[in-house]
Symmetry: C2
Subunit: 198 residues, 2 copies
DNA sequence: TATAAAAACGATCATACGTTCGTTTCTAGA
DNA sequence: TCTAGAAACGAACGTATGATCGTTTTTATA
């Protein structure tokens, strides 16, 4: 028995994950070859299989890990908040912050859904649905309390999520736009968009 | 000399385009093999090359054709409209309508940008930038006239476009949601989102 | 109807892919 | 220090890919 604690295996796996994230984000899952991936990590292609089961497993692992983290964090953020308006504001800020920080995972999580095997895809779609439902609930509560005026809650939720998630395709943290300014612009669009008055 | 008018070649090319659209939309460009494509059209793989130059050319052709049409139509829609509020409303309705009608092309046009060779990608990105600028201009004019209150115009434009384009990933014309209801919900979100009052 | 071009066939090319496997090297716990 | 297991090598597997090419069939015009 050996190499359980502090083994370099964990580091290698982490390096594979990071390299995979970069390559899939840049070129897409299908376009990334395991030879590319291995070269980026500094391994022979076959050696990858000491750490991952299949290419598909790596993709699922990356997306699943991201979804679980997303749900954990959003639940922590929304915990104890009752007022729909406050909740919507918190949700918006959280969603943007998280999506800026992990934009590669987020992008892969939606762009490469199609590359997941049906069974894996279903698991991810379920987690995503759970997340969407959080926003749906907020909107419905706000509409019930007459704070919001929206049409169909699910349609509105999809529209808002699409808007907020869109930054993953273009936002550059080192670019012209300040992060807080980004959050302000979006928060305004969302809140004014759903508010009853206006 | 023969087979110039009414030749069956044009029909075959159209069939290849349509089949390509379906397959790329469903599985992605990289995942679509020319054998799949040929089978769907009812040809041997090699016969495709009587109609297309390369697989890459087919992808570019599909996306480019879509972008050119998009620009033609939006210009026709906005022609002669001066008031920013009216323009924004028209733009929103047009964008949604077009994106519902050609959701496969639109989806491919953004999801498969990465699959285009650099030179091809640049041409598409330029066309897209032209389209984005139309919305940017509307927002800036509205802000200058104090009709709108927005932050950065380009950020707002990206946010709105992301929201409206998002329907391509989930909207089903045969589904629960009526098309007009969809347009209403989104128009409300956009207009209220940018309006000064609120 | 004769003919030249268009379009399909179908075999084949070279290459790249994900994955496997026997072997060797390294490393950390006993 | 010894040793078992982890992790790397590197050659190889079978398969699928995009693309080519000489040949045959179909088509519409002249």
């Amino acid at each position: 028995m050996s190499r359980t604690i502090g083994s370099s295996g964990a580091k290698t796996l982490a390096a594979i994950r990071e390299a995979g994230l970069q390559l899939i984000y840049k070129d897409g899952y299908e376009a990334m070859s395991l030879r590319q991936l291995a070269a980026k990590v500094g391994l022979q292609p076959g050696s990858l299989y000491n750490h991952i089961a299949t290419k598909q497993d790596l993709l699922f692992d990356l997306i699943h890990n991201h979804m679980v983290t997303l749900l954990e964090r959003v639940n922590a953020e929304l915990d104890g908040i009752d007022d729909p308006l406050t909740a919507l504001s918190v949700f918006t800020a959280f969603h943007l912050t998280y999506h800026i920080e992990r934009k590669r995972e987020v992008f892969i999580g939606s762009a490469e859904l199609r590359s997941l095997e049906p069974k894996n895809r279903k698991r991810i779609v379920n987690l995503r649905r759970t997340y969407e439902n959080l926003l749906c609930d907020i909107l419905e509560k706000g509409a019930a309390k007459k704070q919001f005026k929206i049409g169909d809650a699910r349609v509105s939720a999809y529209a808002i999520l699409a808007m907020l998630t869109g930054i993953c395709t273009w936002y550059d943290p080192k670019g012209r736009i300040d992060r807080n300014a980004l959050i302000d612009v979006h928060t305004r669009l969302v809140l004014h968009g759903v508010m009853k008055s206006g």
